[in-house]
Amino acid sequence: MALAAPILVEARRFPVGLLLVAAPMLLLVVFVLVPAASAIVSTLTDPRSGGPSLANYRTLLGDPLSRGNLFFTLGSTLAVCGLLLAVCLPVALYLRFSSGRLPAFVQSVAVFPLFVPGIIVAYALIRFLGPNGSLQTVLDAIGIHGFRSPYLTPAGTVIGLVWEGIPLTLLILLSGLAQIPNAAIEAARDVGAGRLAILTGIILPLIANSVTVAFSLAFLGAFGAFTIPYLMGPASPEMMGVFMQRTFSELRDPAQAQTQAVMSFLFCAAVGVIYVRSVIRSRRRGS
């Protein structure tokens, strides 16, 4: 009897665990995987014959406008990722290696956009950066004229997406930096490393994984963005999110919209692979 008890507990626990996982899995299958699979299948199907065909993709890649939008999206997204890392890495380093009230304040300011919905970010930036916005007013007041607003230009989209992406990127980099023990840095100083050697030889390699994760998530967020590019970006070229929406509801071409979606998904999936590999690598090193 005494021996049987733990086994019973195990046996009873097993289906409970399975049930707990089953509900979200079911939702995922019914509402995400099945529609996604059917969409992918339908983009590979000839609308007239019903047989397999790459016609939809030929149309997409053959159309200069669509192709342009795809490359524009890719370029803007990479610019956003690059700027995010360029802005957040120094801030994260500062926050990690200093103490006191100022860093705490800087951190709360930096994380603030996390609590602001994208649409409000967009309007705030428009009020700030737009024609006759606060920035231009200030510049005019101090005698700097000729300010060209980034509103409705590619730069507008990039600025908006960077602002929106700062908190997440910063938090990921900070969590990576937090895992570097102080003693590891002190040991480097002890053997004679200056600031630059510590940064390039110790810190950056140790947070390479966090940088990859931050990059991947920033890429996924920016590539599929809608609100910011819709409100702040140019009418043409368009980011894929805006383009898809317009193709679907204004041009009423669901087949092309779906094909655009699958193309976007492929780019994001490629980055997703990088992300997953990075996570696996950090799990394996276990440190």
Binding site: A183, E186, A187, P205
Partner: protein
Amino acid sequence: MSKLVIDRLSKRFSGTVAVADVSVAVGDGELLCLLGPSGCGKSTVLRMVAGFENPSEGRVLIDGEDVVALPPERRPTGMVFQSHALWSHMTVAQNIAFGLRLRGLARAEVKARVGSVLELVGLAGYEARYPAQLSGGQQQRVAIARCVVLEPKILLMDEPFSALDAHLRVRLREEVRAIQQRLGLTTMFVTHDQDEALTLADRIVVMRSGAVEQVGTPGEIYAAPATRFVASFIGTMNLIETEASGGSAGLAGARVGGDLPDGPLTIAVRPEDIALGEPGWTGRIERVLDLGAFRMLDVALDGGPTVKVQAAKGVPLRAGETVPLRPLGLVAYGGDGRARRASIEFGNLTNVVSIHG
């Protein structure tokens, strides 16, 4: 000339005094242990020598040169941390080579030095391993190699073995001593483990609440603890509280005399300094603990406290027996905690001992 001189060093952290007016000189090739309970300021002293903390007051001289203004990367010191602090993204060889490469050594030279230092710490062939693939003891050996390969003038070790199990700790202790002797490294070693200090050190600095209590060889500190704190901290010691008046104090029927101030008095006697079977006190054996190499007895003195007495293995002794016993050496501590010259008399029996004052 002393290799390392710590001169009136103090450190305050926003109000709290971590180190108060510590002065120590370490000779060339000497291994000095800083010993004291957790929080007494040992690490802070070491970190001020390494340059990780700025002293509030005082100087640190290496080869006669004040290094207080130098940052850690420019000091000729090498530190081994409690947590090995290896760089997890580098192999063993890369960890050791990092400092050599910063000094601009040629590739072949680096490789040769890494090879020979790994030989020294008994890890030849481990070049390509990552720290996570090593045991705790091996990681700490790599950390030592990483320091030693740079030939520091002063080797600093901050409780390097406290995260390891007891057996390994003893082995690494011996290895470190051997390496230190072989290379003639001037070493400052921090520990809270008195056994470690007693077996490893040429000299010990006992610290308490940021200040130095006593400096001496292990033998001196063990035989003649300068303060009550040192007596209680090092080794096993019977500490018997009594009261002195008119220059003497009673102790289980005996009289302790000497240079004693009136007021509370602590008599300290080591268990191995009490001779069984010698006339003096009388006591009842309450407990016999066989510790293999010897036996430890609890003996309740007639009209006095219970004391621990160390007895050889062969002597037949049982709990409940009454035995005569006499202290062969003792130290008395006055209310200020300082050691006093003292001796003990048993009625008309001739007396013993006087220790140190």
